[in-house]
């Protein structure tokens, strides 16, 4: 919880180059992030030193052809902060991951900026929504989806389009803070919807503490 402490992550990915890349990004991050372990199978997250990592960066598409949703669910159910880092960026995959209770879904096309941001945010229970996740939420068509206002959809779509909250703010005539709060409030509503998970509850609790949302809004 203490932000002064070094954030520890464990990386589960079957490609050594991806692991090496993430290690380099984490080392260069400010504040730096420590990759305590990595593995090609989920076992790395269940044994020390990976077991005590704050955040699990998890590749959805391990050796099997099917997405490893079951592994994601087990990690989330045991209270781990999971960031899915995946080649897949289609809406259904992302929404499924959110339903399972992952902290964030970062597409591999999105680069270091969003992954590092997401890891920092995850270690502090602050919401973070990368652009492809914003796209998935803005185009969600399921019947039980959280209802978004037109303004929220607008902000999400523009965030997906330009990846810069400053530019979205300028375009829509809002402050950067307001843009962030629109995006985060949507994220919190998603965390509050569907299947319960302790990580989702922590995200919602922190948002209420920070005044991002009020209890009665949920």
């Amino acid at each position: 919880m203490a932000s002064a402490e070094l954030t520890k992550v464990v990386v589960i990915d079957d490609h050594p180059a991806i692991v090496a890349g993430i290690e380099a990004w984490c080392a260069a991050a400010d504040p730096p992030i420590e990759v305590v372990d990595s593995g090609q199978t989920p076992a790395g997250a269940w044994t020390e030193p990976g077991l005590s990592a704050d955040v699990v960066v998890f590749d959805l598409q391990l050796t099997e052809q099917v997405p490893a949703y079951g592994e994601v669910r087990r990690l989330v159910d045991s209270g781990r902060q999971v960031i899915v880092y995946s080649m897949r960026e289609d809406r259904d995959t992302i929404l499924t991951c959110l339903d399972l209770g992952v902290f964030a879904h970062v597409a591999k096309t999105e680069g270091p900026r969003h992954l590092v941001h997401a890891i920092h945010a995850a270690s502090r229970n602050l919401p973070y929504t990368p652009p492809t996740m914003a796209r998935a939420m803005s185009t969600d068509a399921r019947r039980d989806r959280p209802k978004l206002t037109a303004r929220e959809t607008d902000v999400l779509v523009n965030w997906f389009a330009c990846e810069s909250k400053e530019m979205v703010a300028r375009k829509l005539g809002l402050s950067v803070r307001t843009v962030s709060s629109y995006i985060d409030r949507v994220r919190i509503r998603y965390a509050n919807a569907g299947r319960p998970a302790s990580t989702k509850a922590a995200l919602v609790a922190r948002a209420i503490q920070d005044g991002l949302v009020r209890l009665e809004e949920l």
Binding site: S138, T139, V157, A161, C162, E163
Partner: protein, 372 residues
């Protein structure tokens, strides 16, 4: 298609023939089959057989008449009708004593061929000829079997007269069919030639139109390149060439049959920037109505222009909504071509272009609302 055409022509040519044969067979039905047997007294069972034969022929005539007058084919019933004609022939001649065969029953030899023609002429001249032949052969066999071999010569005369007329009609029918086939083939060839001409003309006009468009933009650039007046060290000049090249690629892509033409053409516009080493992300969000070609050009044009100055990376997105679509591009531009912030402008096809400059970053959006 061609078969339908041929059937139509055959129908036009053969119909008068069918009407003539119908008229002849109807006259024969009344004149010979009804009146002749009644002309003299005869045994009752013979009268009965004549009546049945008449009834059969009458049925054949009426069924055929309905088909001919309504200009339809008789259909498969024709074979039943042909069998009825043979049955009628058998009935009229059965029980007639041998010596009287050529006097009392020979009328059926002359007339019944026309009924065969009536039911078969629109179907196949070959079938008609075969059945006529079979019928005639049967009459000769019958004559010989009843011991009237001596009167074969008489039957030859009678048959020749009858077949002479019947075969002429068949010959005309055959000729009509042949003419129809030739005419339809010729018409089809002419139609093909006309279609090919029309396509060639359309393509030519299309090329001229495109050339006219390119003549204003691409040709001067190519000329400058060949006579050495183009200064390729100037980033603006290079951008001009990049724009022209991307437009050409878009032009080629416009003729592809794809599910999402806008995304496809956009990809064509980005191809060159990617080859130049710009890291391009192309993503779509939501579905949108299909904009027409002129609108798609107006939507991709800002991307073409911005991408000409793209330096390292670009994010191009197609943002759909139920009522319209926005094409958005965010990129870092080279110093020389740092885009002047253009005021929001609406093109003549109703595409609104807005741009936002943030340091080296340029964000241009082109939005189209589908007419409701």
């Amino acid at each position: 298609m061609r078969d339908v055409g041929r059937d139509l022509v055959v129908d036009t040519l053969v119909r008068p023939l069918r009407l003539v044969v119908l008229a002849i067979s109807t006259v024969l039905l009344v004149g010979f089959a009804l009146l002749l047997p009644l002309a003299e007294p005869a045994p009752e069972d013979w009268i009965t057989r004549q009546a049945i034969a008449f009834a059969l022929l009458a049925v054949v005539d009426v069924v055929a008449a309905v088909a001919v007058l309504r200009d339809r084919t008789i259909g498969r019933v024709r074979w039943v009708l042909a069998a009825a004609v043979f049955t009628a022939a058998a009935l009229t001649t059965a029980g007639v004593p041998g010596p009287q065969l050529m006097t009392k029953a020979s009328w059926s030899y002359v007339t019944l061929g026309w009924f065969l023609l009536l039911v078969l002429i629109e179907h196949s001249t070959r079938a008609a000829a075969v059945l006529l032949g079979a019928f005639t052969a049967a009459t000769f066999v019958q004559l010989v079997v009843v011991g009237q071999g001596a009167r074969v010569a008489d039957l030859v005369v009678v048959s020749t007269l009858a077949l002479g007329y019947e075969m002429s009609v068949l010959a005309v029918a055959t000729a009509s069919r042949r003419i129809a086939t030739t005419a339809v083939d010729a018409a089809a060839r002419e139609e093909q030639a006309r279609t090919a001409d029309a396509i060639a003309e359309h393509l030519h006009a299309d090329r001229r139109r495109r050339y006219a468009e390119l003549a204003d933009s691409t040709v001067p650039l190519l000329r400058a390149l060949t006579d050495g007046t183009a200064d390729l060290r100037d980033p603006r000049a290079r951008a001009e060439y990049a724009v022209a090249a991307a437009r050409l690629r878009r032009l080629f892509a416009e003729h592809d049959e794809v599910v999402d033409p806008l995304l496809h053409e956009l990809r064509a516009c980005l191809d060159l920037a990617e080859r130049k080493g710009v890291d391009v992300y192309l993503g779509a969000c939501g579905s949108h109505p299909e904009p027409p070609l002129a609108v798609r050009r107006a939507l991709t044009e800002p991307v073409v222009r911005v991408m000409a100055g793209a330096r390292t990376s670009a994010r191009v997105t197609v943002l759909g909504s139920p009522t319209g679509v926005t094409v958005s591009v965010v990129t870092d531009v080279a110093d020389g071509v740092a885009a002047e912030p253009e005021p929001a402008a609406r093109t003549d096809v109703g595409v609104l272009v807005t741009s936002l400059v943030d340091g080296q970053e340029v964000w241009v959006e082109a939005t189209w609302q589908a007419p409701s």
